[in-house]
Symmetry: C3
Subunit: 363 residues, 3 copies
């Protein structure tokens, strides 16, 4: 008696319906241990997440968990229900970080289906979900929309719903969460010292491009350790035998690891970026495999003043992750191609909003 | 003046005697850091170890340390004395988990020699030991028997003792430790939500076989990180130069890592397995090397009611770890061979007892 | 508008001047998570850092952070300012460990330039810095001198300063910090049990050589995880594409990882070494790459009595790290070459002072 009936195998296109609420499994207590493993995986250096002392100075009770560590853990919880049978993770939008999460907090997630659209082929379709991550007090700490191409279980199934949600191109400035508070010049000085840079909000110009100098070559152990840390069980990242039979021919690096690597690399140039408030949009443009070297560059998209705050401001940044070509080399030779986003070296195109110190400060 | 006199080189067959008590070195404070690294190495998702909130709800003061993380740390302590000169780790039996271990607890181990048997060849023999792991209060948290084939230092040495201990084929049901308590329907609902499944004790049938769908390809970094986390210093796992000269030709993956990987993969199908009470028997059937992909399937061996408890029951499971062949493919083509356990794809045969929620609950 | 103006690119030879004080970025709260990752990377087993119980017994409020974990984290902080443009890290001296650092402490570092010497070639030169690491109370926990060969930005730049500092060949015995206190015979017995050895200070003889039996083969993931844990951003360790164009042809293993691996391997033979008080000198003799297997042996250089203490004594040890040749094989065939330090198998030559229990104890 052999059975697969005990396996919760993930949803297919015909399992989703508009307004469907899905409570995701695997609540997670996030700890200093996770923060340490994350630093080991990414080399993250932004001081707010590295130093309890600086975090206290900026009004946090403890070091907040790195925004992208939280994002990846939260994302992982949605995989078994949303994307286990996905062909591709197409994009993110309206990602908002609310309250900080601290070591010892326990998070869980739920999603609501906000859009469904069958492909012309009839063998798959796109599902849009809004997912929200809550802490142990029931407060939302993070929300995001993503859309994925999901297979149909039965090609003959009729998908009557066709709804594409209206998504904001960016999180509005009045919705940007800013937990940091820079109380005086002395605190500002400590930020400068902690991050090794005096470059602040006023120093950035719209359309300016920053070439981050570092690069990290990714090994199979690295991305599997990361993906397992997030309890993300998507098979494509772990099973070389399965993937040998796929179009990729080998294990795929989880896209969220690329986001984390690019965020860490962008410390050189965005040193004083304090926290991440929002991801306005994000797309994984091409796959990354073991052996690929990841670099990135960032374009300043918009400078945003925050109502009632002269100590900090927001900046909307477009970070482009590239593989196997240094940012200089890439930028010089291929920026035209980059613009139309068809370049095979581009692996990530993420538009996010982050908080920087400003010259003026609230008193 | 060069000397090896400072090296405690591990025991050989002639160093062991019946009733010998060995206190193992390297007491270890287990922390949230270890729990985080363990998740990163295995992708473990059982909620009792992932969520402090669920653990509290089930009557634990904190998230208990994952049973197999504890087992592997405890096992590692015995290696320098028991198996540093082992040819093979032949099997486990009578493994019992008593009290939960929490972050911050400090454990140490000791062993007693319970059996010795020289091989016909006269160059090695089998040693049986019962090892016990204690917490800082001196309470036993885990005990196990294992037997290993150990080399003789001197082939001419006379091994007069020949004693094979009587081992139980399974830990008796009245000795099964059950720290969880499911106080009401609401708690049961939280377990279902946390693990993403409503399949309980009553839903399993003896002889039922569950094919777990995931697979993990193991890299050298992965298993070395795991084995070092356990402070297990067996050379075969770390030294590629040494192993190039062995019959294996390369580094061996530590068997305990395979157990942990199979336990994590079996979450899909055994989602509501709460804690592990016992390992009735365990054998590493074939070696695993870097590049091998590990899968597993599980057979229900026995369903055990726990005296005085209607909220939870025990299930005795037989999990077979296989390499480089999906469970479906393996099961279809080779189950006959599997039965006689000579199949080269089988790497692990473990028979363990775990706790599941039941429909009826104590009030 | 593409710019590199936001990148703090590290200093070149002409940027340094005698007496210059550099405050390093990235303060770091060190946690049990870092300690767990460190054990996973190295297999470290010295009980003082493994067991809170033993640490308490020796007078520490908690398990102190492993000395070399602290050293590597502190070292990492100096890289962006001191050695990002380094050709080579030439050596260490006068490394002193003061107060223990505990989980939860936040450390930061600063350096003072104490020597500058242009090379005859005129394209680079050597910079000597004394770096000091402080905890959140402003107490120095660690200080060290290192010298690095740094490129000139502009080959035509005139380097008028030429000063080579006088460095001590070893940290004087009256400056050796000894936080441990062995209060009685019972405590001594616990150390013996915890480390699995009864070999104490009195048992070592000057010039004695100990061949440590273990070896660890290093993979790219291993050393990158370690180097990122230390937030060390030197490109040579991470960027395979960059390094393919260098004389090395591939990623270099961070030298501090080799120190940590050798310290961990030397547990077998130096089991009762409690804490590290000083590194008198250290040199990375040859590069290590992924795939290399690291071994080591240790020579007893000096036995040092500590004023007013009969419970512990210091021993000055010379540990030689070797690659791809077992210590026995190396020692037998090449020790003559080893003496002149030109041997291509030698990767590390470190002279450090560590604390051992003594027979006599303070009461």
């Amino acid at each position: 008696m052999k059975t697969k009936s005990k396996i919760v195998g993930g949803n297919f296109l015909e399992d989703f319906y508009l307004g469907q609420i899905i409570k995701h499994s695997t609540p997670r207590t996030i700890t200093d241990g996770d923060a340490a493993v994350y630093i080991s995986l990414t080399g993250a250096r932004h001081s707010l997440h590295s130093s309890e002392i600086l975090a206290n100075e900026l009004g946090y009770s403890k070091r907040p968990i790195d925004d992208f560590l939280l994002f990846n853990i939260a994302f992982g919880k949605t995989v078994p229900d949303i994307s286990l049978n996905a062909v591709a993770n197409l994009g993110y939008a309206e990602v908002q970080f609310f309250e900080p999460v601290y070591s010892g907090d326990t998070v869980h997630c739920e999603s609501i289906v906000i859009g469904i659209k069958e492909n012309a082929s009839g063998v798959a379709g796109v599902v849009y979900v809004r997912s929200t991550c809550f802490n142990q007090n029931g407060n939302a700490v993070l929300t995001w929309v993503r859309w994925v191409m999901v297979k149909k279980r039965d090609h003959a199934a009729n998908i009557s719903t066709r709804h594409i949600p209206d998504l904001m191109t960016s999180v509005p400035s009045n919705k940007i969460s800013v937990p940091s508070r820079i109380k005086d010049q002395e605190t500002l000085g400590r930020i400068f010292e902690a991050n090794g840079s005096q470059i602040i909000w006023e120093d950035f110009s719209v359309d300016e491009i920053i070439l981050h100098p570092g690069g990290i070559t990714i090994e199979d152990s690295d991305h599997m350790l990361a993906t397992r840390l997030y309890q993300n069980n998507a098979r494509a990242h772990f099973d070389a035998k399965l993937m040998a039979g796929s179009a990729h021919g080998k294990r795929l690096v989880y896209g969220g690891h690329i986001i984390s690597i690019c965020r860490a690399l962008s410390f050189e140039g965005l040193d004083n970026s304090l926290s991440v408030s929002a991801i306005n949009s994000g797309k994984h443009m091409n796959p990354t495999y073991s052996g690929d070297t990841i670099y990135c560059f960032t374009k300043v998209i918009e400078k945003i003043k925050i109502f009632g705050r002269s100590d900090v401001g927001a900046i909307r940044l477009g970070t482009i992750g590239i593989k196997n070509m240094s940012p200089e080399e890439f930028f010089d030779s291929k920026y035209e191609n980059c613009q139309n986003k068809n370049n095979e070296n581009i692996v990530l195109d993420i538009d996010y909003t982050t908080i920087f110190p400003r010259k003026g400060r609230s008193n």
